[in-house]
Structures are given as C-alpha cells and as structure tokens.
C-alpha cells in the first residue's frame, strides 16, 4: 500500500466510519477496509497499485479512468470504492492474458490507436464492453460507443480503426474456436 492510500485509511479520526468491502479485481479477490469517500479510481491506483487506470479530468468528462464493473464501463473517478462491494472490476491490466495481448490491445498497437497513451486504457475497456455486446459494430457504432472517452492526440481515426480491426480478429478467433469444437 502506498502512503496516500495509507493516509486515507489510517490517519482518519477514530469516529470515521470504515467499511469492509470484498471486491474481485481482474479475477483476484481483495478484502479491504476503506473510508466511504475513497474513490474507486484511487482504490485501484493507490490502494491496489494498478496504475494502468488513469485519472484525467477527475470530473466525469474524459473517460480515462474507465473500468468495467461486472462487464459494464464506469468512470471510476465517479464512484466510491464502497459501491463495488461484492462486484467484479476489470482494469486494463486484466485485458492481457498469460498467452499475450488481448486482440483489442493488438489492434491499438497495430493500427497506431494511441499517441501519448493517456486515454488508451479507458478507450480499450469501453471498446471491450462494446465488442462483448456487439461483436460486429459499424464504424458509427464504434464512434457512438466511444463518445464518452476523450482523446486529444489522435483525432480518433486510428482509435476507431483499432477497434474495428480488433472486432474482426475476435470474430475470426471465435470462428476458429467453433470450427475446432467437437
């Protein structure tokens, strides 16, 4: 635990109510004591040291802090850690598996879907939620789904391309798996 997280949880007056929560982050279960005002973004970054989740605007506009809660994208700067008690959180660190990058990550790499990379974790998680629900989106649907995530570098062109490429690869992968099934 870093100092900032410790400061929030230990240097509080004795009458500050601390809540015990159990949350699964990227498949790993954590039981934690948190002050109610601890934001989910800070629990993830400072508490769990998963710094792939970026806090950009801190005012619910930019979407850089987007994580998935039970598969749905949520801006983690706009939710308290106590609210995810009993839920599953996926951060960008949860995308790649032992066998390599997630197809969405490959898409962003191959199609130059990032420049500075600050918005990228939020973009990729929002894209994951989209592709889980709609494996074959149109360009318009991708743009619509990503409209809550701001990027100040790319002009979005390559981000949209990355998601479309990832969608095609995921579909191809699913087809192969279906063909191989007995």
């Amino acid at each position: 635990m870093t100092s900032l997280f410790a400061a929030v949880t230990t240097e509080t007056p004795v009458d500050t109510p601390i809540r015990r929560i159990t949350v699964t982050v990227n498949g790993k279960q954590h039981t934690l004591d948190v002050e109610p005002r601890l934001l989910l973004a800070h629990l993830i970054r400072q508490g769990l040291e998963l710094t792939g989740t970026h806090t950009g605007c801190d005012t619910t506009h930019c979407g850089a802090c987007t994580v998935l809660i039970d598969g749905s994208p949520v801006k983690s700067c706009t939710m308290f850690a106590v609210q995810v008690d009993g839920h599953e959180v996926t951060t960008v660190e949860g995308l790649a598996s032992a066998s390599g990058l997630h197809p969405i990550q490959e898409g962003f790499r191959d199609e130059h879907g990032l420049q500075c990379g600050f918005c990228t974790p939020g973009m990729m998680l929002t894209a994951k939620a989209l592709l889980d629900e709609n494996p074959d989106p149109t360009e318009d649907e991708v743009r619509w789904a990503l409209s809550g995530n701001l990027c100040r570098c790319t002009g979005y062109q390559n981000i949209v391309k990355s998601v479309l490429v990832a969608a095609a690869r995921l579909r191809a992968k699913d087809n192969v798996e279906e063909d191989e099934a007995p």
């Binding site: 509080t12 005002r37 801190d58 987007t66 939710m79 308290f80 619509w144 809550g148």
Partner: protein, 291 residues
Amino acid sequence: MYPARFSYEAPETIEAAVELLGGARGEARVLAGGQSLVPMMKLRFASPETLIDINNIPGLAYHGADPDGTYRIGALCRHVDLEKDGDLGTLQPTMAAAAPLIADPIVRMRGTVVGSLCHADPQGDWASVMGALGGSVVAQGPNGRRSIPCVDFVDGPFQNVLEPDELAIEAFVPAPVGTRAGGYLKLERRVGDFATVGVAVSVEFSGTQVTRAGIGLTGVGASTICAGAAAEMLVGEELNGDNIARAAGHAAEMSQPRSDHRGSEAYKRHIVATFVTRILSSLQRTTQEVA
C-alpha cells in the same frame, strides 16, 4: 479530489432508506447513479453528512407500461435501460429520443432518470421530457406515498420539493389520450456537454386531431421551462404550418435564455423555435401519412 467525510449507509428496503433519511434531519443525500452527485461532492458543492446508497434496494430498476397505459420508471432505472429498450419508441417517443442524448454512453450506464429529476439541474434533459409528458414523481415518506407533478417538483436550481424524510421511488407518465407522438432535440457543443438548448415535445392525437400537447425547454432559463401555453394552442386542431409556427413562436417567447459562451439570447430563442417547428413538422407528416 476528495469529497468531505460522510458516513455511508446502504439500506436494503425503501422503508429503511426512509428511516435513515428521517434520522439524518436533512443532512443526508441519496445516491442512485451518482453521476451528478459524486462530481458535486468532489467539488464540495455538496457535503452531506450521510450518503444513503439505494443501489442495494431490490425492485427499483423497472420501467414499462401498466395494463392501463401508465408508464412507470423506478428509481434505479438507468438511462441506458431506456436507450436500449426497442419498444420505447412506440410507447414513449419523447423519452426514446431523449435517452441517447443524456450525457455520454458511460455516464448513461450508471445515471438514473429519477435521480436526474431529483438533482434538478436547470440543464437537465429529463425534467423537460417529463414536464412535456405531464409526468409526476412518487415520493415515499414515513406516512406513505404521494405523487408530485413534475411541473411542481422543482422549486429552484438544484432544489426539489421533497421533504427531508422522503425518498423519490418512481416517476410516471399517465396513459395517453389517443396515440402518443413526440420528440426531443438537443443542441450541444460536444457529447456530454450541457444543452445549449433542449426541446421536448409530446403530442397525443385522436386521428389527426391533437388531444393533448406538452412542450418542455432545457437550458434556456434558471430552471426547466414548461411551455404549456404554447402547446395548448395546438389542442383540438390538426397540425398545420400556421399553428406549428404560432406554437414555436410562443415557446421561443416563453424561454428566458441568457447570452453566454454557448450562444446569444437571440440565437437560443431562434433554436427553441426551430426545434419546436422541426419536431411538430415531423409529427404532422407522420399523422398525415397514417391518415
């Protein structure tokens, strides 16, 4: 940014939430989607002593029509629930037009319709929609429930008329007289920005004749404007170019926009008239095609 300290309660029944609200004597806020409240707490515009999270109360995430046609939206119905409901366009066209224009797609995942109404932001979209539809909010207090018409629900910017020990549990829209039609148009500089102008129109038809009409205006006054007088000009008539122009002109007169970085007063009035005209003209075409 951290909010001020608060104690957190997550009751599992409406009754328990009402009791907690009563015990907090006006120093509590209710957390539903939190997409407006949490940013306000972070900026310390809101510093409740107690936060009552109603997300663990089962049975509040519903939306749909009763057999008699009354359309009900529970306190935990998210914007996205309405956006993705394929039947909404037929049953509640004004709501169906507004739902995809609320904030941005990620905010719509969490934010709630009833929470937006309670938040009473003058720039909020749902207050105009519910006002145009003649909707109400249902509040539960220690002594039972009462319905408050949306036009009376807000008594100032970010202020509603709920008692400190009342919880808004539902919003509802009465059954239409005849066929319901309508639309919502919103001018915004970018996705997620507040409306420069938002216009909600709801019209109920018997054949081609208007039986009831409502117009709500967002972003052009210190609070949502219910342009009922402009809408009532249409009742008893068939929509035509003349009465559409009169209603649009009257709605523009009833708006009270202020010049700011989003546009001048004259520009915003012009947009109000344009949007009212566009929605009503499209309804006129549709009713004529049906007739």
